[in-house]
Symmetry: C2
Subunit: 350 residues, 2 copies
């Protein structure tokens, strides 16, 4: 019989199909991205094809908007929200509107078109993580922003329209619904138990080991008990910390290792699946340090959202998280394949 | 500049792209379903290919599980929840589980493989609506069920794995999250204003006429102010009523007209788009009659859910609802095409 499992933080139910569980080979493989693309605006040498860069990790002596970079941040050419204007509100009877004010940036993670976090070495990916944190801190200075959503879409079914490795961040004038749900759930748990719910989950997972995929001293990767989607994985810092912005330089290599291990295992196990990952962090200027705990949620896009999910807000997961974790533990990660020669740049935080 | 709009019921924000708004021709057409299928288990004459029928509208004198039906209800062969067992709970530390108890049925809307609600006459579709209500009432008798989710997936991108016209219902042992959000929002509004929020929305929409698509004496179809998805439409009864189970026989032809008009216009305007529709109704045995108001939400599946939507719980809608309503008003609905000769059955509720 299927099971209904309750997320201990948001109290959202998920249906876990325990009997007719799918295996990794039941899902279609991802489509391989071409190794280079003659028209890709994110490739090195085509810097004029993007809006002017906001930040970059560059070889000393190279100029902005020219080759010589390792990570590059540019405004999104088709932003979801506009940087001009304001979040001023107005209302018309029942209906409230605020201006769609915000920042929408693209973080180009490497000049190499054919790589992706799963196939980069941890050392190659670390500068992108460092840049995530720098954007978090920099956008924090604009007090009109209440929240920074940092996310990555990989593969067309996950919403990536360009295959060159990149992430995005959107600075929002309001705290989004999903963050509010987590914050409320974590706050209620703290009020009841006097402890961080994420720390308690980490402790229970570490003791049971049923759903742990991989861990090092700083981070644990596991499949959550009430996973929404098959092979969903969370990467959680072991030290209690609410804000991603407080990620320390010495922790960046450990996070790069944890992401490499988790994404590399998903890549091997599911043959380069499409996925989204999202950094769940504290809102700017929020006093949530005692009860919230930042983390990264990785959602492989292996199943369809249909009428049941839209109508109920519930999800049906055809792979029990315990099975997913076992597959991911067993698959291992190969030594990174021969990849473009490591560039000899100063590597921030690595 | 884009706009952030707040749903007046659930207070969820939506980003409406007012500047770079998409037109109907910007979306890909749906894939036409074949007119008949040699292997379709829902076609007339293949009744033995489904589990035994639960209910049907049949020509007098025909036997269950044989030809001669107009609408047929069968258990889902691959149910999301199991009818055996119970919703008994257990917990393991932080983690709560209940048995995946429930009913999952398929409502085959017509014996004709090549039809769909948009291309049926209202008279052909009315028996399916009557059957929806009968299933709602029948499943209400099992007091272990707390909620009935009635929904339709049309087209493969909307999750339909079989093209023969059918809907589904899932009886749940808990009230789903989305329903709870609406109930809480509507209850809070009632506590504040002393009126039903849906009735107030209907009044404001009727006065403004910006977003009205079509209406008759009993039902209004409009695009909601804070629509999640491009061309989202709601069909709402004008008389205040919380439960779909109280839909009266005389209202069924009016609902069939409203659904025909709305789905027919989406079909014409967007070239047979994939869609989900969901009946939003009161939970079983809930005292929500004064503040809740049942309705049908139709969600064309024209855009992708990506990292931003998963991470935030917000949606980006590239078609302002006012534009969508104008396109849908202008497109009109043709007289139903020559379709299979109307059967001469007793038509419940029509």
């Amino acid at each position: 019989m299927p099971e209904l499992r309750k997320d201990p933080i948001t109290r959202r139910w998920v249906i876990i199909a325990t009997e007719r569980a799918a295996r990794p080979t039941d899902f279609p493989a991802g489509e391989a991205a071409p190794n280079h693309s003659a028209s890709c605006p994110f490739c090195e040498g085509r810097e004029e094809r993007t809006p002017p860069e906001i930040a970059a990790v560059r070889r000393p002596g190279t100029a902005p908007n020219s080759p010589g970079w390792e990570v590059r941040v540019v405004p999104n050419k088709y932003p979801a929200l506009g940087i001009e204007g304001s979040a001023q509100g107005r209302s018309d009877g029942l209906f409230e509107t605020i201006g769609g004010f915000g920042a929408h940036e693209v973080i180009i993670e490497t000049p190499h078109h054919g790589l992706q976090p799963a196939t980069m070495t941890p050392g190659q990916f670390a500068p992108a993580l460092w840049m995530y944190r720098e954007r978090y801190r920099d956008l924090d200075r604009d007090e009109r922003f209440k929240y920074l959503l940092l996310f990555r879409n990989h593969g067309r079914p996950a919403g990536a329209s360009l295959s060159h490795p990149h992430s995005q961040c959107i600075a929002l004038p309001i705290v989004p619904k999903r963050a509010t749900e987590e914050l409320e759930g974590a706050q209620a748990y703290f009020a009841r138990e006097g402890r961080c719910v994420y720390c308690d989950i980490l402790n229970q997972e570490s003791a049971a080991r049923l759903r742990v995929v991989w861990e090092n001293d700083e981070f644990a990767a596991f499949t959550p008990f009430a996973a929404w989607s098959p092979f969903e994985c969370w990467v959680v810092p072991k030290r209690h910390e609410a804000s991603f912005g407080n990620l320390g330089d010495p922790q960046i290599p450990a996070l790069a290792d944890a992401m490499h291990q988790t994404l590399g295992r998903l890549y091997r196990c599911l043959n380069d699946p499409p996925y989204n990952y999202i950094i769940h962090t504290a809102p700017y200027d929020a006093r949530v340090g005692h009860f919230y705990h930042w983390h990264i949620e990785i959602l492989p896009r292996l199943s369809q959202v249909a009428g049941f999910e839209w109508g109920s807000g519930f999800y049906i997961n055809t792979v029990p998280p315990e099975d997913a974790a076992r597959y991911l533990r067993e698959v291992g990660v190969p030594a990174p394949a021969a990849s473009p020669a490591p560039t000899r740049l100063p590597r921030p935080g690595a």
